[in-house]
């Protein structure tokens, strides 16, 4: 039983670290601020979600599980706010995104 849980944890950690590595590559590779925010968002959601899921497999049913899930929930609520603040600040400084604009933008 423990072996199965260990294997699940390993798979989750593998997917999580893969998405963090791809996100970090994207942070360097993508062309401008706005595109890089997408890569950072991938680290925020995919990376943390899979890491927390992997740790939940290890703790089983206890108070620590609840705390882990709460960490996930708080990251889930706060990460879009930071992404939006970064994007909004860039727009206020009149940095226009590269690529095409469809219709009239604000």
């Amino acid at each position: 039983m423990e072996l199965i849980l260990d294997i699940f944890t390993g798979i989750c950690f593998f997917i999580g670290s893969l998405s963090i590595i791809i996100g970090a590559c994207g942070l360097i590779k993508l062309p401008d601020v706005f595109s890089r925010i997408h890569a950072a968002g991938m680290i925020d959601t995919g990376g943390t979600a899979f890491f927390i899921l992997g740790m939940v497999f290890q703790t089983g049913w206890s108070l620590i599980t609840v705390k882990l899930i709460l960490i996930g929930v708080f990251i889930f609520f706060t990460s879009p706010v930071t992404s939006h603040v970064t994007a909004n600040l860039a727009r206020q400084k009149n940095i226009l995104p590269v690529g095409k604009k469809i219709g009239k933008i604000l």
Binding site: L30, S35, G41, S79, P80, S83, A87, R91, V98, I105
Partner: protein, 155 residues
């Protein structure tokens, strides 16, 4: 009524976080939760915006759908980063929600799915930046908009 719900939420959080169940600790918890509710009530923070309980009945259904979307778009963002087929586009969408909380939920849901970010909002028009025209089309079909309006349940 709303203060009672806030009190119960805070107390549950206290009990889950502390893990010590002696009478002294629990009474301290009850005291501090009651004090927090009193301060929030004095500051007139307990309204539909501070405590959106009208979300609760449909919240679980929405969250499951949102997680599925996040997983899907995580995969496609990874593909785009590896392929290097980046054609960013910026466009505006209209939000059909009534309350401010629901609008913020919609904007946050757009930002939370990788590949699309809300960069600006004015009343009920959002400016969205998408990594690729596929991500842009996902937002422009208004599927998420309809889901959040359904979650709000005011129409």
């Amino acid at each position: 009524m709303k203060s009672l719900i806030l009190f119960l939420i805070l107390l549950t959080l206290w009990l889950l976080m502390s893990g010590h169940y002696s009478i002294l600790i629990i009474s301290l918890g009850i005291f501090s939760c009651a004090f927090c509710v009193y301060v929030a009530k004095r500051g007139k923070l307990i309204d539909d915006e501070g405590l959106p309980i009208f979300f609760i009945p449909r919240l679980l259904n929405y969250l499951i759908w949102l997680f599925k979307e996040i997983l899907k778009s995580n995969l496609s963002t990874a593909k785009v980063i590896i392929n290097g087929k980046v054609e960013p586009e910026t466009f505006t969408v209209k939000a059909s929600q009534v309350t401010d909380v629901a609008k913020v939920t919609y904007a946050n849901s757009i930002t939370l799915t990788p590949g699309t970010v809300t960069t600006k909002m004015q009343k009920d028009v959002f400016e969205v930046h998408a990594l690729n025209s596929d991500f842009g089309n996902d937002v422009r079909t208004n599927e998420m908009d309809n889901k959040v309006t359904w979650l709000e349940g005011k129409k």
